[in-house]
């Protein structure tokens, strides 16, 4: 009797669970509409408003939503070439012309309106750039726009940009870094209070989608802007659904709770899992990521002195040559990544036409080391010089399984030529602190790059703000400067920069991966844009849409 009672209780509980589990599925299916998309994201859109997206708010999760709400004056074309005036597609501006080498004129599309119905005017652009160029409001953005001297309105629909000097990326600077804001809604808000205003909680933009709601910690909902002047999107509702854990994102996707995801997380077996799901497909795109082992040029214990081992260019070159990067990349990524020539992610247009990176040459590596006095004098298997062993530590973050896997291969390959490598995996915040303070021998970095090669100056020029390894070659600096102001064949100028960096061996440029977005098969005309993955959403089509 008692056993039956317990089983009855457990049975009742199970039945209730099954009822709850099963019943609403039918409701959800009834409510489902093929013209909606649920996109998984790893971060929450905390302030999706142009000119606020910097510092900690510069995360992709924030800019993804911003780009759906706010249209730029123009957008990068499919070639992602950032120089010249031709490789761009119209946005709020229907055309642009040059008055002279330092003046660019934009004519706004007269059909462009804000989502509240007000027309987009030249004053909106002037207002936005006044904010964006103010270092007190937008320190990072104002630095990017430093070569714009003025933005003025000529009438309702014409905006004139003036620059400090001629250079190839004038148009890029005007259109890429920020999108216009609605002056008629924001002019009355004190500039420094915008981040805390009601506008940030429900932004009004000019883009293909408009804001519906944000459910804290769960999702952001957007709906198609029926008045969008370039054509109302076929996908009527967009949900950016938050799941910080990559495994949870995979589960939501494979469990049928989401339609798209920006990248398949490691391990590689996840790609097979996606392929096995009949409704999903992988869409490859050039990532903005480049991974490299950065050599510290200064002594981590006293940064006023050169690094006792890595300050020597020949030792750095020997390490590069001792590593079979192609083998490591193939073992880690399969065919979905390659070894870059210089610090170039697949998205960076200057990598096209770059020479192939050097292949491993262990004999040459040994010769270089021997020439610099490194030999195994005490027979312990590790090279030494003046009694000091050739031992180096690689700093890396434990959150990256990919980097940890490659670092272990580096350790083994360098061991074979007598270099002892210790791996120092630390958590992300500590990693960043150590890196910024220059407390490392080798740093296994993974950089996310902008489409413009001018960003290279930040990490690879003597005065670069993010040059944590204190790499300094005045020739590289002058080449970067020259390439930055070139207006003709800029590609050749940038190739010269890459070749000089490669020759200096400031890092082992390890991998440049192709990423795979996952998208439900019911969507057509899918184009994943490396500079902003879901920007092309407005042009996607939907099979079976009502």
């Amino acid at each position: 009797m008692t056993r039956w009672t317990l089983e009855a209780w457990l049975g009742a509980g199970l039945a209730a669970t099954v009822m709850v589990a099963g019943a609403p599925r039918a409701w959800a299916q009834r409510a489902s509409d093929p013209a909606r998309i649920v996109i998984l994201t790893g971060g929450e859109a905390a302030g999706p408003v142009p000119t606020l997206n910097e510092g900690p708010l510069g995360a992709t999760s924030n800019t993804d939503v911003t780009d759906q709400l706010f249209l730029h004056l123009a957008e990068l074309g499919p070639t992602l070439v950032t120089t010249g005036d031709r490789g761009f597609e119209p946005g709020l501006a229907r055309s642009w012309t040059r008055r002279d080498s330092v003046t660019l004129v934009f004519d706004l599309d007269p059909r462009a309106t804000w989502q509240d119905g007000a027309p987009v005017t030249a004053q909106d652009v002037v207002f936005t750039f006044a904010r964006a160029r103010n270092p007190a409001l937008a320190p990072s953005l104002s630095r990017l726009l430093r070569r714009i001297t003025s933005v003025t309105a000529e009438g309702e629909r014409r905006v004139v940009f003036r620059y400090t000097r001629p250079y190839g990326e004038q148009l890029y600077d005007a259109v890429f870094h920020t999108a216009p804001l609605p002056a008629h809604l924001l002019a009355h808000i004190p500039a420094e209070s915008l981040a805390r205003s009601a506008f940030v909680q429900a932004p009004v933009g000019s883009g293909p989608y408009r804001w519906v709601r944000r459910v804290a910690g769960q999702f952001v909902e957007l709906e198609a802007n029926p008045r969008f002047f370039l054509g109302a999107p076929a996908i009527r509702h967009v949900f950016y659904r938050l799941a910080t854990d990559p495994e949870a994102r995979m589960n939501l996707l494979l469990g049928g709770e989401a339609d798209a995801m920006d990248n398949v997380p490691p391990p590689r077996t996840n790609v097979d899992r996606v392929n096995a799901a009949g409704n999903l497909r992988l869409v490859p795109f050039a990532s903005s990521t480049v991974g490299y082992l950065l050599f510290n040029q200064r002594d981590p214990r006293d940064t006023s002195r050169p690094h006792p081992i890595l300050g020597d260019r020949d030792v750095r070159r020997a390490i590069v040559l001792a590593l079979d990067r192609h083998k490591m990349v193939r073992a880690t990524f399969g065919p979905t990544a390659d070894v870059p020539f210089g610090p170039t992610s697949p998205m960076l247009w200057i990598r096209r036409g770059a020479p192939a990176p050097a292949r491993a040459d262990v004999a040459e590596a040994r010769r270089l080391l021997a020439a610099r006095g490194w030999a195994d004098h005490d027979g312990d298997g590790t090279l030494d010089r003046n009694g000091s062993p050739l031992t180096l530590r690689i700093l890396l973050t434990i959150t990256s399984a990919t980097r940890m896997q490659i670092a272990q291969q580096v350790q083994e390959q360098l061991r074979q030529i007598g270099i002892r490598i210790e791996l120092e995996g630390v958590e992300f915040a500590l990693y960043n602190e150590r890196r910024n303070q220059g407390r490392f021998d080798l740093d296994f970095a993974s950089a996310s790059q902008d489409p413009s090669p001018t960003g290279l100056a930040q990490s690879w020029s003597c005065s670069g703000g993010r040059n944590v390894a204190q790499f300094c070659d005045p020739v590289v600096d002058s080449l970067i400067d020259a390439a930055g102001i070139a207006t003709g064949n800029t590609e050749r100028a940038w190739q010269a920069v890459l070749q000089r960096i490669e020759a200096d061996a400031p890092a082992v440029f390890m991998y440049a991966p192709t990423f795979f977005a996952v998208v439900d098969r019911r969507f057509g005309n899918v184009r994943i844009r490396p500079e902003s993955l879901w920007l092309g959403l407005r042009e996607w089509t939907v099979a079976g849409s009502r």
């Binding site: 008692t2 669970t17 709850v20 589990a21 099963g22 609403p24 409701w27 959800a28 409510a31 489902s32 509409d33 909606r36 649920v38 929450e44 905390a46 302030g47 606020l52 910097e54 510092g55 900690p56 708010l57 320190p139 990072s140 459910v215 804290a216 910690g217 769960q218 999702f219 949900f239 938050l242 799941a243 910080t244 854990d245 495994e247 949870a248 994102r249 589960n251 939501l252 494979l254 469990g255 709770e257 959150t399 958590e427 992300f428 915040a429 500590l430 960043n432 602190e433 890196r435 910024n436 970095a445 993974s446 950089a447 790059q449 902008d450 960003g455 930040q458 990490s459 703000g465 993010r466």
Partner: protein
């Protein structure tokens, strides 16, 4: 009783204050820079300094502590570095999700745990007792994050019986549908946390009741011919409740802290997942805010269980 209550309340307040100061200092001593970022999108030194001044991180540690305590007295926990929004607002947004998950787990834990513990004690050494003990200890020995991954993988992905993650389907509509949808999403994380925690309650309850069932007044009650259910639930169980009350006080913080790993595995939008992001990003204001909330509930939980003890057992307040 009143003097005892005042003394105990003052003790709790002092404990909380010490905990707050220690938490603040420990969090700020942690290595790692809240403004350090990786890659080409890292901040330049000038930007970092500007932000450091904006968030008051350029002040000496004790200056920051004084500012924090001053703000706390006014209910202001500062602004999150990661989100750029007031910490209080962020915590309040996430609190309901954690309270729902934590409350459900507490309810399951204590209702089921007490009930099964009593059943085991009453049927001591029976096959049912042995089975429940074996299963509950197996659950107790299972790491919650592993169990969560397995449940999400099988129940959510392979069999698609329940949602593998999240708190609600963004496509759901209507109040009833949304409520049922939340319930569906709640099952797996609540089950994960309950399976690994219920054994404690059961074992405590079983042991406590077995002790009481041996006492002479229970023999007397049975000798008087009282129904067995009355002997168990009215006479024995009340006195076997004290150890469980202690456990309840200790478990109460789950209401606000949740289980960080389980919230992460199931993408549950509670304080745990908020806190784990704050740890990774060294978002000091948010991290301290979350820690303050947890500390306050821990102290409150202990205070409540002490008060409950005192109410149920006069010897506690007179000793």
């Amino acid at each position: 009783m009143r003097r005892w209550l005042v003394r105990r309340t003052l003790q709790a307040a002092l404990t909380l204050l010490i905990a707050l100061v220690l938490l603040f200092l420990l969090i700020h001593i942690l290595p790692g820079d809240p403004l350090a970022r990786e890659g080409e999108h890292a901040l330049t030194p000038e930007q970092t300094e500007a932000l450091r001044a904006r968030y008051g991180l350029d002040r000496p540690l004790f200056g920051q502590l004084a500012a924090f305590l001053g703000g706390l007295a006014k209910g202001d926990l500062g602004v999150s570095i990661q989100y750029g929004r007031p910490v209080t607002e962020l915590l309040l947004e996430r609190l309901p999700a954690t309270a729902l998950l934590g409350g459900t787990v507490l309810l399951l834990n204590f209702v089921l745990g007490v009930w099964l513990g009593v059943r085991q004690a009453v049927r001591k050494d029976s096959r049912e007792d042995r089975w429940i003990t074996t299963l509950s200890l197996a659950g107790y020995a299972t790491p919650s994050f592993w169990l969560g991954i397995v449940l999400a993988g099988f129940v959510g992905v392979r069999w698609r019986l329940l949602p593998p993650a999240g708190m609600r389907d963004p496509l759901g509509g209507g109040t009833v549908a949304t409520a049922v949808d939340i319930l569906r999403h709640l099952i797996l994380p609540a089950l994960t946390l309950s399976i690994v925690s219920i054994a404690g309650t059961m074992r405590y309850q079983r042991a406590a009741l077995l002790e009481v069932l041996r006492l002479p007044y229970i023999v007397t009650a049975r000798a008087k011919g009282l129904p067995e259910s009355m002997v168990i639930w009215r006479h024995a169980w009340r006195n076997a409740l004290f150890p469980v009350l202690t456990l309840f006080g200790l478990w109460l913080p789950i209401l606000v802290s949740g289980s960080v790993f389980v919230e992460s595995v199931f993408a549950w939008p509670g304080l745990g997942s908020l806190a784990i992001g704050a740890v990774g990003n060294r978002d000091y204001p948010l991290l301290v805010g979350a820690a303050v909330l947890v500390a306050a509930v821990v102290v409150l939980g202990t205070w409540l269980s002490d008060v409950a003890y005192a109410v149920l057992d006069p010897r506690v307040r007179t000793s």
